[in-house]
Symmetry: C2
Subunit: 203 residues, 2 copies
DNA sequence: TAATTATGTGTGACAAAGTCACAGACGGCG
DNA sequence: CGCCGTCTGTGACTTTGTCACACATAATTA
């Protein structure tokens, strides 16, 4: 990738939990994540949250894209989920790279396209799907190699834009059907095929 | 705008109601709208719809952006709301313009940024806001110069990702408070300030 | 180890929103 | 006028969200 050369001075390291940006702020440059993971989310007045997307190693943060291009302010909050290394690409440099560096341009465009697709999926999910379907989808997406989902019910709720109690009840429905095993801070997926079947429904 | 020159042969005219693209299709080129309006929306299995955004005169359709850049298939449906003239910019031409035509590039980037901002607003709206707030917001957005909203309750429901019956009930609540006057296919906004106050709530 | 605290989970009761079925009401139009 | 398609209203019920609080588990400290 032409963007990140070894002598680039714009590398910043931040600790897990750091708030990188929050609604209303201005931003200084285009952000590219070198390691770690950032979650970008919205918070309502009543405290309920919904996670818009995550920016992982190699990804570029499109929240900053909007800020830079249209002089918009941040509309969401970004927080480091673990220790993170990011590269800040100043605006002039960004403009130069877009024109001169085909690989960089392709990466940006590809990220934009992917984020659009995901946003449409997210809107479809929250606007048109039931909690049952949303929960099944997020369990599959967060599952590790051992079919475990390491997340509290609170975290799952913010992933699907619902409330913790609702997640608790739906998980117990799944457990009663033998689809999952509920543990503290962890869920084991047992009947993967059945969960996938639920996730494929559109409602 | 450098993109549209007068001898461009890629102008297409379509009638109101025409389906321009639907989920699963491939697309041939980047779409720019010269006149008319296209609505881009998602439909669930149970028939409920949500409108993602509209593409109006001068706008570019970013649904096609994703298709072109990442070889994705369309994930939403696009339908002409009135008679529409669109320009199709083939992929090679698009790539050439992005590099060589600063104004074109700025327009594309600006559209991308604006769409992102709107998507985040939409997600916040459907995931974290009540029907009361969402309905107030859409009434204000669709209002014409005479404070009239020309839309059936069915249309309003798909704008806010809810159901017609729910819109009917909420409108009657608004009417009982003297905020609006309900007519067939039309709603007159009476107490604009009060509606705006509701719209400003986050929940 | 036992007590304390913080965090995570379960649940009843109620409110808000979505679904289903159906009844009217209104606006063309023959 | 009467017919028909579209739009709107409403009761009954289900699902989801909210609030209050009880209880369980893990981490911390005495």
């Amino acid at each position: 990738m032409g963007a990140a050369n070894s002598e680039n001075p714009h590398i910043i390291r931040v600790k897990a939990g750091t708030v990188l940006f929050s609604p209303g702020q201005e931003c200084q440059g285009f952000v590219k994540v070198h390691s770690g993971r950032i979650k970008v989310f919205l918070t309502a007045e009543n405290g309920r949250e919904i996670i818009l997307y995550r920016v992982e190693r190699g990804d570029i943060c499109l929240q900053t894209f909007g800020c830079l291009v249209n002089q918009q302010l941040y509309s969401a909050e970004g927080r480091a989920e673990n220790d993170v290394e990011i590269e800040i690409i100043p605006r002039p440099e960004f403009n130069r790279l877009i024109v001169s560096d085909t690989a960089f341009r392709d990466q940006v465009f590809s990220a934009v396209a992917a984020r659009f697709k995901y946003f449409e999926f997210l809107i479809e999910t929250v606007a048109l799907s039931s909690v049952e379907v949303r929960l099944a989808r997020i369990l599959l997406r967060l599952m590790d190699d051992n079919k475990n989902v390491h997340a509290t019910q609170e975290m799952l709720a913010s992933e699907i834009g619902s409330a913790r109690e609702v997640v608790s009840r739906q998980l117990n429905v799944f457990a009663a059907k033998g689809l999952v095993k509920i543990m503290r801070g962890k869920i084991l997926l047992i009947a993967l095929e059945k969960i996938e079947k639920i996730a494929k429904q559109s409602v």
